[in-house]
Symmetry: C2
Subunit: 454 residues, 2 copies
Amino acid sequence: MAGNQRVCLIGAGPSGMSFLYHNSKLKAAGKKCADVVCYEKQSNWGGLWNYTWRTGLDEHGELCHGSQYRDLWSNGPKECLEYPDYTFYDHFGKVLPSFPPRAVLFDYLQGRWNKSNLRNYVTFNTVVKSVTFNKETDDFTVMVKDLSIDKDLPPERFSHVIVASGHFSVPVVPYFDGIDMFPGRVLHSHDFRRAREFKGQRLLVVGAKYSAEDIAMQCRKMGSGNVVCCYRTKPMGFSNWPAGIEERPLLTKVIGNTIHFKDGTTAEVDVIILCTGYMYHFPFMSESLRLKTKTELYPDGLYKGTVWMGGGNNKLMYLGMQDQYYSFTMFDIQAEWACAVVAGHLKLPNRRQMEADIKVWREEQKLLKDCYEDIAYQTKFVCDLASEVGCKYNLDVSALYNKWEDDRFANITTYRDQTFTSVFSGKTGIKHHTPWFKAFDDSLETFVNQTPNK
Amino acid sequence: MAGNQRVCLIGAGPSGMSFLYHNSKLKAAGKKCADVVCYEKQSNWGGLWNYTWRTGLDEHGELCHGSQYRDLWSNGPKECLEYPDYTFYDHFGKVLPSFPPRAVLFDYLQGRWNKSNLRNYVTFNTVVKSVTFNKETDDFTVMVKDLSIDKDLPPERFSHVIVASGHFSVPVVPYFDGIDMFPGRVLHSHDFRRAREFKGQRLLVVGAKYSAEDIAMQCRKMGSGNVVCCYRTKPMGFSNWPAGIEERPLLTKVIGNTIHFKDGTTAEVDVIILCTGYMYHFPFMSESLRLKTKTELYPDGLYKGTVWMGGGNNKLMYLGMQDQYYSFTMFDIQAEWACAVVAGHLKLPNRRQMEADIKVWREEQKLLKDCYEDIAYQTKFVCDLASEVGCKYNLDVSALYNKWEDDRFANITTYRDQTFTSVFSGKTGIKHHTPWFKAFDDSLETFVNQTPNK
């Protein structure tokens, strides 16, 4: 198909796979589409959902992408993240509880990708080493290393570059006075793999976002000693923490096993787990192409949250770089929109209009006061993209998200025992065989058949 | 000093610092020397000796360089690694025991570097991202990122590149059947920081080199449970392992907490520590400039173990890439030799002669039968470089190394309690206040004053 745009897609996680999915849908429909080369550093697709036991560096000496832990269960209802055109009911052929464990979600994702035979589009074990823009020829040069043979490949030229390599892989690890002399284990949540490792150990969890909450809960569930969580800005503030979890203001220093906090209290701990977030890290992008942002719902410099404004040619896009309530469906509509732009089915406005649009969104973002307003804002963002591509589904699941937040604030231990109704399949999740806090069997088989081993 | 060679030096560990040391000596003596720009990724000099509490990735999302652990004591006598022109006696002004803890060695190294005011030559927090060779202009283009401001710097041109970034920083982490489902902690020795973390835990140590031996010993010393070491090729074979350490053939699979070994035996463990070595990892060097080798005393393709033969222009050198008995003194004479070559004080033979020389060394290497022959071989390598630069010292400390090996085989628990006599200062190390296996205070102050806290 001569004349097609030639796209370099970086990463085969949910965002990248959605780009391949929608591009192949255009192709199947006989519409103009791009020629896509997808480079994936890992040996399998799935991004973070491709669980790895490795930590730190991977088998090729590259940054280990995986941040998920073995015991992870979805912290949002599956009804909030299911694809409208491929529901959980479509995939499993039965009604299931609303909060699946890790392996179930990965299976679901792979179902959609396999159905469209997307594996052939991914080049595994290849890592993008540099992306530069050629002003004269208005295209990009991409340098790639084939990790399986430890060789640099010849430079490739592309009309477009789509960065879908995620932003939950490179940990932010702050220094605290004395942490270097702490006699116990110090790790970032990026390297947290099994809650069982901490059985009987007293934990300090630094952070107040999802990782902090979930790792504290997981560790207590799996038999850790007491957990003290501490926060820089504000506590998570759940009124129903299970026994043995408490919150305090940030630590000020570490002396031996003793942690000193801002409120003057101290605690003795065996392990420090830093749930201190991740950095946006694109060292392979040349300086002028590199997204630099903090985590927010509408990062600056991306039109419709996607098109990189820095380059001036609108041919570089970033997928999934938003702070996330919506996840798979947001990546998917964003990828569909990006496909339409690349293939020329959707025209971008002029630069001034795009900049004005970004400004409006970012001004609105400033006014958001709580999680419910965040959810409404991100719903609007998702529905705006959907309307641009003429999506036939109403992607608004804000009512489910709002209920989910209510459930969490009502009881952080039991919120995963609640059920939700899919707006796409109309099915209501069934009650899980065992309350989450007492459910230790997280295998796919057990979840799908609802037959716990014991 | 127009007309000088312009050298890009990568890394400010012992090898890189020795290059700066000898180059500044040439300058001080009014001799022709190079203009050197030294890029160091970390915020301080010392390479591996710049201990870090971090693991996996560093504060900038770069590969964490440090592999040393808090409780490390030298595993070779200080008399085998001291600089002839700056002895331990010169630095500390007193006679000390032969096996110092980590902080003492770092202090010693810094003494020599500070004395020559070398800090000004190092650009910290800068990581080399790419090195390419320009055939037309017979020089190199080097791309560097300033980590402190997260910015790519403008490309720089250099006549020479010296790679001194080490080869003990990027772990080789093999997969074993079932290790991904092991319920306990799995780590590589690269991420081992404190032996105390394993108190009471049963350990599997995979490997049979220095890391395996020392980590097994450290952990038992610090109160771990039993340790099973396992080997692929041959056991370490020490006859006097302390109680609670044993050796077995390699594991074949992991089922739950149970490790299965090649000899059909099993062991229950809580932690798996992979002491499975490091890879030579120079992703920043373009393919044709990249040293690829296994760990050996004389890696292929380096004339005098130093000049890269791949490029054909003799202006790319690698320092300290040898498997090591000799360490600081070997790096130092290699760096002195490299300085002399770069400045033009030493002429290289033609390519055919260099290739023939490499071949002779590598043929001889093939015949080496045991550690004593290895030591004699590396002694010859060191003395050969010394003779080329007209070094006035006899760097041969093979007699000390041989005695050290004897001591280790006689008793792996007590070999660090032995003393050695410096061939440079003539001083004999004094007896340490406490046998190493019972010495828990490893501070510099205590060691230098020989006044343990308890």
